[in-house]
């Protein structure tokens, strides 16, 4: 799965995107965040406060408990601040 990061999440992890083979037990975004947080100190820092994260699957906003299904791209980012 392609993972894309924005703003403070991108800066904490150190890359704007990466491709990961998520383990079979990872079914939803909550599982994915939990697994990703174990991959590096930067990931752990970026994902430590789940209440301050937002998610999009294939460019559509979804909640933390959304199933990954057949999605190709998971985006993880802070609450948006445009305008």
């Amino acid at each position: 799965m392609r993972l894309v990061y924005f703003a403070a999440v991108r800066e904490a992890i150190g890359v704007a995107s990466e491709t990961c083979d998520l383990p079979a037990h990872v079914r939803n975004i909550h599982d994915a965040i939990h697994w990703l947080a174990s991959q590096s100190p930067g990931h752990a820092l970026a994902f430590q406060d789940k209440a301050r994260l937002r998610f999009a699957l294939d460019q559509a906003m979804v909640p933390l408990d959304a199933a990954l299904g057949d999605a190709h791209e998971l985006a993880i980012f802070p609450p948006v601040t445009g305008g």
């Binding site: 894309v4 924005f6 703003a7 403070a8 991108r10 999009a56 460019q59 559509a60 906003m61 985006a75 980012f77 802070p78 609450p79 948006v80 601040t81 445009g82 305008g83």
Partner: protein
């Protein structure tokens, strides 16, 4: 007329709103958001999610057309570094009578603030930079429209 534009160059309000007054209606309404000097901020920097940004703004315009009797709507948003005093976003709507354009303009900017994938960083004169936190007052204004 539906216009969505993400611009790395300074926005001209005239260009952003062009055409809205030629649609045969009696009203054009617009909102311009300007980079503000908040406690020593010299510039802001806007990051976005290419692809999702454009589709989310078009969806907002489609929703506005479904709710109000509009003849046209435009959203033009800056990305990259924006100096204090420059426009960050211009939103406009055209309709036969003013109420539709006025309400649609408020809807578009309120919902853009909570739905469109942009992130804002403030740069200060001393070289410091800070990501802006989302405001609960923006959530409140946005939820008025649900």
């Amino acid at each position: 007329m539906k216009r969505v534009l993400i611009s790395g160059e300074p926005i001209s309000e005239e260009v952003a709103l062009s055409g809205l007054s030629d649609l045969g209606g009696g009203a054009v309404s617009s909102f311009t958001g300007i980079s503000r000097d908040d406690g020593g901020v010299t510039a802001i920097e806007l990051e976005h999610y290419p692809g999702m940004t454009e589709s989310s703004l078009l969806r907002l315009i489609d929703e506005a057309f479904a709710r109000w009797a509009l003849l046209g709507a435009a959203i033009v948003h800056r990305i990259g570094r924006v100096a204090v005093g420059e426009p960050v976003v211009v939103v406009g709507a055209a309709s036969r009578h003013r109420a539709d354009a006025l309400e649609a303009t408020a809807f578009l900017i309120d919902r853009l603030k909570t739905d469109a994938p942009f992130w804002k960083k403030e740069h200060y004169a001393d070289g410091m930079s800070v990501w802006v936190d989302a405001k609960s007052s923006d959530d409140d204004r946005s939820s008025r429209w649900s």
